[in-house]
Structure formats: structure tokens, C-alpha cells
Symmetry: C2
Subunit: 123 residues, 2 copies
């Protein structure tokens, strides 16, 4: 399994879910998952979904510029670092963002998000 291919597939799945059906992102997090969103710390799948679905915009479209990945240690985890643009409905200019995910293997052969840190890159 090529880690770069796994990372790319995860990123495409994550942002297409975000843009189409944000509540479904809950499946990617667990109770020990952490999100730091623009400096605000949130823990647990339900709280994370509650945060992501209450952001002050409805329609949005992520486009990905770069995806980098590295193994996070001997336990099979993977660090994924993303940069891209976030276009909000009705806004003229896209927002630049950077985001990192720490993916942990599950017993079912998939991954969940243990760590998620998101920042807008203000110009």
C-alpha cells in the first residue's frame, strides 16, 4: 500500500465529504480525536462534527494544492499535510488554508483521524 496514494485518497474523500455532506465526517473521527480549528480546541467525534457543521457558511468548495505525507512512527500512523483553497458560496476570492491530519490504522484495515489542525493563511 503506497502511503502517498493512501494520503491522496483520504484527502479527496475528506474534502468531497466536507463539501457535500459535512455530518458524514463524523465517521472519520473517534472519541479521542482532536481538532484545533483556527486555535479553538475540540475533542471527540460528536463535538468535532458539531463544530464543522456550525461554521458560518453553508456551501463551500475545497481545492487541493499540495498533499505531503510521512509515517508517524512504528505503529502504522500517517501524517498528512495539505494546502489548498476554500471557496465559499457568494465570495469573490478563495481563502487559502493549511491543514494537517494524523491518521491511525483501525482494526478494520482503514484509518481514523486522531489529530486535525486547521488554519487559514491570511494574505
Amino acid at each position: 500500500m503506497d502511503p502517498d496514494a493512501v494520503a491522496k485518497a483520504f484527502v479527496e474523500h475528506y474534502y468531497s465529504t466536507f463539501d457535500a455532506n459535512r455530518p458524514n465526517l463524523g465517521n472519520l473521527y473517534q472519541e479521542n480525536s482532536m481538532l484545533t480549528f483556527e486555535g479553538q480546541k475540540i475533542q471527540g467525534s460528536a463535538n468535532i462534527v458539531s463544530k464543522l457543521t456550525s461554521l458560518p457558511f453553508q456551501q463551500c468548495q475545497h481545492s487541493i494544492a499540495t498533499v505531503d505525507c510521512q509515517p508517524s512512527g512504528p505503529a502504522g500512523g500517517m501524517l498528512v499535510f495539505v494546502s489548498g483553497n476554500l471557496q465559499l458560496a457568494g465570495e469573490q476570492h478563495a481563502l487559502k488554508f493549511s491543514q494537517m491530519f494524523h491518521l491511525i490504522p483501525t482494526a478494520q484495515g482503514s484509518f481514523y483521524v486522531l489529530n486535525d489542525i486547521f488554519r487559514l493563511n491570511y494574505a
Copy 2:
């Protein structure tokens, strides 16, 4: 030990060393350390220092905009996510960058960098 304070102290130490004496950054990496620099993958302290000291600029000054941190799992590791500006000598405009570090505790009670991913955020 407050993780946010540790992260902030690490970040200040890292970039002040980068700006003043890049070869000394080698002390922060080990043989299994990984750097992905603008998509280029490099492994091991000596190779990482070789990359960082051969970047096509001599004098530079990092300024930090945000530092976020989260524990990376039960083993005491820490994820540190940084955004900031990089001013190169002789250039009018600073470059925006994002960088993440995965810090692993050492037997000596300190941390080393296992994972390092750096990206410029082009405007």
C-alpha cells in the same frame, strides 16, 4: 509541563537557530527523522542539515504567526503546527509558510523531530 508552552519554546528555539546558525539544527533531528521540504523527501539528521544549509539564500528571518499543538498519541509525542513569514535578505516581500513538526521524547527528557513538513504558501 504545559504542552503549549513546550511547543512555543521549541518553535522559538528552532527558528532562532535556523536564522542564526543553521548547522546547529542537526541536534534536533536523528537518523530516522524525515523532512519533506516543498515536496522533496529527505531522511536522517545529516541529510536534513545538508538540505537546510544548501537552500539558495544565506540570511533569513522567520516570524511566527500561529503555533498549534496536540499530543500525537499515548507515547508522549507532540504535533506542532506553525504558520508564519520568512523574510529573505534583499527581498522586499516576506514569504508565507506553514510547517509541521512531530516531536518525540528522548531518554534525556527532551524532544527530537521525527517528522518535519514544510510548505511555502504562495499568494
